[in-house]
Structure formats: C-alpha cells, structure tokens
Symmetry: C2
Subunit: 100 residues, 2 copies
Amino acid sequence: MDKKLNLPDSEVLYDLADLFKVFGDSTRLRIMHALSEGEKNVQSIAEELGMDQSTISHQLRILRDNKLARARRDGKQIYYSLDDDHVKKIIEMGLDHVLE
Amino acid sequence: MDKKLNLPDSEVLYDLADLFKVFGDSTRLRIMHALSEGEKNVQSIAEELGMDQSTISHQLRILRDNKLARARRDGKQIYYSLDDDHVKKIIEMGLDHVLE
DNA sequence: TTAACATATGAATATCTTTTCATATGTTCA
DNA sequence: TGAACATATGAAAAGATATTCATATGTTAA
C-alpha cells in the first residue's frame, strides 16, 4: 500500500501533464463527449456545441496532435472520431471523483 | 460498443474540466508524485522538487481546494498527503496513454 | 475552370494561470 | 514575551491558452 507511483523520469511527467491539459478544457471535453457517440464532421460538432467552426477546428487539431482524435476525409467534409480506448476510461475516472 | 459517455449535464462537465486542469500542471503532478510515497511537509516537498516554498504552498492549496490533498499540522510544520484513491488511478490511466 | 462549400490556419486579442516577492499568520521554545 | 521558524497569502509580473476574425487550402459539381 502507498507505493510510490512509478514515474520513470521527468520527461514522462511533463508529457503526462500535457495530456491532462488536453482534458482540462470544457470545449475539448464537450467535443470528446460528442465524438463518443460516433464519428462526426466539423460542422455538425460546431452546431451541436453552438460554437464557431474555427474554434472547433482549432480544438480538434489539439485533440489530433495528442492522438486523442483521428480525422478522415469524405468528400468536402472531414469526419473526426475518438482515437483511443483510454479516452472514455480517463473521463470516467475523473467523473468518479467529481461525482463523489 | 461506442455508447455515448453519460455526462448528465454541462455543470458536471465543467467540474470535470476543472479537475483535469489540476492534473494538467507538471508542478502539481510532481507534488502528487512526491506525496504518493507518503505524507510530507511543505519544506521537504520544496527541497525535493527544487522549488520555492511559496510556489509549493500555492500549488498545495489548489490540490487541497480540489480535495486531492489533505493537510495536517504537527507543531510548526504542516504535513500533506493524498486525499483520494482516484489520484493514482487517474495518473496511471494517463500514463497508459503517454507510454503507448 | 469557376463557384460554392467545408475545413484549416495565422495573427491579434482577451483571459487565465503560474511564479515571484514581500509580508502576514501561526507555532515553539528560550 | 520575543526570536526563530514553517507556512500561507496578496499583488505584480511573466507566461500560457482559448477565441475570434480574416483568409487560405482543398474538394466537388456545374
């Protein structure tokens, strides 16, 4: 019990902070929530959240850069989907805490 | 499969983003890492991380406010410890992703 | 090839967060 | 009580981030 978490070196730790930063924004969390239903294109996400196309696009890029979402072009539109099994688990873990 | 995450309403979602924000800072993550070994006072954490007493104190307050750490006074010093079983699990989940 | 559409992107702005510095508060012990 | 120590705190400075706006890029269909 109470064993120290095994965090190899500080580079990993900075990467980890960067990952959590991505989850620490409600716009991105709402996008991930929307995508947990299945893939959607940029427009429909923007409409669903009532936000600007540009804002969503910027945030989707951050999700993509962090390998949390993946993009697929189909004609004029680009469809995004969640790209990681961890996403839902990480969010659910957080929920356990928030809903204590 | 691919069931939508059950996020009751947007207030919870904002709380969740706030929680992840706490994990999204390397100083706080390093503090949590240090505390995962057991309780420590402010000074020893500051020394271990090579950072200012004041910086650590400010960040400990954020951890405390978010119910992730707890404080206990013993004489002149104040000992902090992790206050939540989720903390390690959330960090480990994140690690799974970062170390893919 | 051009018009219409979907998405991406760079730069500017606005907002938020962390750190630092100076100092206040609380505790012990002589 | 006062000196020494540990921690907390407010305000300022420095740094980081999200959003907006204007426009560029890429795609389709006429």
